[in-house]
């Protein structure tokens, strides 16, 4: 128990966060690339054709994991936002602000792949159905957090606290927005996967496997980019601290101290 508490406190301090996560970067990247290549190759070339949609269904191996990530990262950003707001933790600040562009990117990928898939399936790139609309609003929420942060660029800590407030508001509002948008009749197909094994979901394991692998790959990619961005964020905001100088030029710093 004591070790966990110690670990938690260590993660909260920028220098030890940097030191600890430095060891995680390579394995995360490796896992993301390996799983991503495996999932894409199996999904795009070897998984069986869909009896109804033919080969064009294969975009779900990108679309669905990206859609999951767009919400997952929003949740992560919101939780980091709460930690930023309540405890003013610098590391939480870094994690929150590092999550925003990644989440926005996954949201944009979801929208784009959805549009590309919609053209052959629905005959239109865009339709104002519930999921597309709420995904678009999700993108706006990400842009709002980015916007408020960049507007206060002269004071990054204040910017981060205001951005955390926006993130928290978004987190509270997201379910309301989501369900109000669902109010409309939807032409989007039902969920592809349900944990209870509903009749409408994917049944075939050889289709499901690459999808789950891709979901894992995007998670590891997120962790990798998140840590890398959070490290950079901390180094930028703490650029005058000694630990950053040690990291940037280990030899130069030793000369100064000796």
């Amino acid at each position: 128990m004591n070790r966990i508490v110690k670990f938690y406190h260590e993660l909260g301090s920028p220098p030890s966060f940097y030191r600890i996560t430095q060891h995680w970067l390579k394995p995360m990247l490796l896992l993301a690339v390996l799983l991503g290549v495996y999932g894409l190759v199996e999904g795009l070339f070897f998984a069986p054709k869909d009896y109804q949609q033919g080969d064009s269904y294969r975009i779900i191996f990108v679309h669905v994991p990206a859609a999951w990530m767009s919400l997952f990262i929003y949740l992560g950003m919101g939780i980091a936002g709460i930690m930023t707001f309540v405890w003013r933790m610098k590391v939480a600040e870094a994690v929150m602000m590092a999550s925003v562009p990644i989440g926005a990117l996954f949201t944009a990928i979801t929208l784009l792949t959805g549009m590309l898939w919609g053209k052959p399936m629905w005959g239109t790139y865009w339709d104002w159905d519930a999921r597309m609309t709420s995904e678009l609003i999700l993108l706006f929420l990400y842009l709002g957090v980015m916007g408020i942060y960049s507007a206060y660029d002269e004071d990054p800590r204040k910017a981060a606290r205001l951005a955390s407030l926006v993130a928290i508001i978004g987190l509270v509002m997201l379910p309301i927005i989501r369900y109000s948008v669902v109010w409309w009749t939807s032409i989007h197909q039902g969920s592809s996967i349900s944990l209870m094994g509903g009749a409408s979901g994917i049944q075939d394991w050889s289709m499901l496997r690459p999808l789950l692998v891709m979901a894992l790959a995007t998670k590891f990619y997120y962790i990798y980019v998140l840590l890398k961005r959070a490290q950079t964020y901390l180094m930028k905001t703490e650029q005058n601290k000694q630990w950053v100088k040690n990291v940037v030029s280990p030899h130069g710093a030793q000369e100064v101290s000796s």
């Binding site: 916007g147 408020i148 206060y152 606290r161 407030l165 508001i169 509270v172 927005i177 109000s180």
Partner: protein
Amino acid sequence: MRFWTLLRRDVLVAWRKKSGLYQPLVFQLLVVTMFPLGLGAGAQTLAKISPAVVWILALLSTLITFEHLFKDDYEDGSMDLYYLSDMSLPMAVLAKAMAHWITTGIPVILFAPIIGMLLHLPNQSFGILLLSLALATPIFSLLGAVGSALTMNLRNGGMLISVLVLPLMSPVLIFGAGAVLESTLGNSAQGHLLMLLGCLVLAISLAPVTTAAAIRINLE
């Protein structure tokens, strides 16, 4: 007591300034003229889109008033006094949002039937239009207070307010315009109106606290 004093002061300031009172209405009138020009003046086309247009105009014309909700007080230092006085900040926010609603929301509600008439909104829908706007304009003011507090010391925060506030307003628009649309089709709008009422309760309870938090961060 202080609540009412602040409310009266804000209403009085807006009343003496006048521009805040009629700006949204002039904006609505200008934009509503553009619709027949762009769509063709066919009464049936206009009637079909009228619930949405009346609602979006009410929303957008309120949006342009948000920028100065807290900015003027922030710039002349009154905001620091609210902060330092022993009045609770969320209550001050609520008073200011209420004053904003009285000076912007009520004129917008009263003006909506005129816009509706210009767009040939079916007769049976006017009651629901007024009711839905009466429920929704306080939400506009409260959410606008949040956006305005977040951007109060930015030189041009207008665009940012739209980015922050409009996504949050989408449920209100869905239920509000939905209610009017249902009534034009002869259906009951009760469900939509109840959802609006729910949004209003949520906004009254959460928005002042959030706004106060944003003000505290900004004054630090």
